[in-house]
């Protein structure tokens, strides 16, 4: 079983805000357009994106996304971290791009 905390253990993945560490991650969705994420991501997913904005947390909360991985070295603004704390969503930051992050997390999920 993959937990949110397990995602943070990837090398080069920094936990910027830990929500509920024991939340199980069962799927993954990669996308930067939040309207698309809202319509297509599944509950229990980790979201891989470059969209470092507090709206990302609102969308995550709506869908039931447990963690957000911000790629390409983008960092989370303070208001985004505060929203994540309130909603129990974890934020992870990495220099990987979305493809590399997707590939690594697919491995953790046993999808490859």
């Amino acid at each position: 079983m993959l937990t949110v905390e397990g995602l943070c253990e990837l090398k080069g993945y920094k936990c910027a805000l830990l929500g509920n560490a024991e939340d199980e991650v069962t799927n993954c969705y990669t996308g930067d357009l939040l309207s698309d994420v809202m319509g297509n991501a599944e509950e229990g997913s980790v979201l891989i994106t470059i969209q470092a904005h507090k709206n990302t947390i609102a969308v995550a909360s709506l869908v039931g996304i447990r963690a957000v991985v911000l790629c390409n070295g983008r960092t989370s603004p303070e208001d985004m971290r505060k929203a994540a704390k309130d909603e129990g969503v974890t934020i992870i930051e990495t220099k990987d791009n979305q493809f590399s992050a997707s590939w690594k997390i697919a491995g953790l999920l046993g999808l490859k």
């Binding site: 930067d32 309207s35 994420v37 809202m38 904005h53 709206n55 609102a58 969308v59 603004p77």
Partner: protein
């Protein structure tokens, strides 16, 4: 008095704008359509605003000097300023935030700079179609701090909109909100909804506009009208 307002238009400086769309041609076309307040909003750059301001005065149109900024989230926002100096200061600010990617006219189109005599005096070398390095929230704050008018563009568009990129409209301090469809199907809080042409070629000028109850025919009159919400849409004429 209700006057026709079309704040969203591109000139030949925008790579996607037609080369025939000089500031002068834009203003003359708008005059023929009876537009009173006319905006020029090229992507990420205001270098055709000096010519635009001059030719609008000849056409007895009130120029609304603006830039359509593309934020890091790929969201388009219309930003307007009270005079040419303020608009060009803001243009310099945005130009410094552009990624150093040269424009490829063959791929994206020309980025023509037009002077006050309607002559082509050069091209803008950095590509203007992409995102510049400022976030949506920071941009709204920046324009407000410069006492500008700030309007998220075509929020219900399939791309380059606050809805497509950010999922919903954050509840920030806007002067108004631009939508393609009336009534707008998204939450816009208490903001006035406007429509604009988003014209990239001459025959698109005035294809969408709205009519506002403006007390004084100047920038502050426009701002007050936008904030008061006294607006009629084209189909109500």
């Amino acid at each position: 008095m209700f006057v026709k307002v079309d704040l969203h238009n591109h000139s030949c400086l925008s790579p996607c704008g037609d080369d025939e769309m000089t500031p002068g041609m834009l203003a003359f076309e708008a005059m023929e359509k009876g537009i009173k307040f006319l905006g020029l909003t090229d992507h990420n750059c205001g270098r055709n605003l000096p010519a635009f301001e001059k030719v609008c005065k000849i056409c007895n149109i009130i120029p609304v000097l603006g830039i359509e900024v593309n934020t890091v989230e790929d969201v388009h926002v219309l930003c307007f300023f009270k005079d040419l100096k303020e608009a060009m200061d803001f243009s310099s600010f945005i130009e410094r935030l552009l990624p150093p990617i040269l424009n490829l006219p063959r791929m994206f189109g020309n980025q023509l700079i037009i002077n006050e005599e309607e002559e082509n005096t050069g091209t803008f070398k950095w590509n203007l179609i992409g995102t510049c390095g400022i976030g949506f929230d920071d941009l709204i704050e920046e324009v407000n701090s410069r006492s500008g008018i700030v309007i998220p563009a075509h929020i219900d568009r399939f791309a380059n909109s606050v809805i497509s990129s950010l999922g919903f409209l954050p509840n920030l301090s806007y002067t108004a909100v631009e939508c393609l469809k009336i009534p707008c199907e998204y939450e816009t809080y208490e903001n006035t909804i406007i429509q604009g042409s988003d014209a990239h070629m001459l025959n698109q000028v005035g294809r969408r506009y709205c009519s506002l109850d403006v007390k004084t025919l100047d920038f502050e009159g426009l701002r007050n009208a936008l904030e008061s919400g006294q607006v009629k849409y084209r189909r109500e004429f």
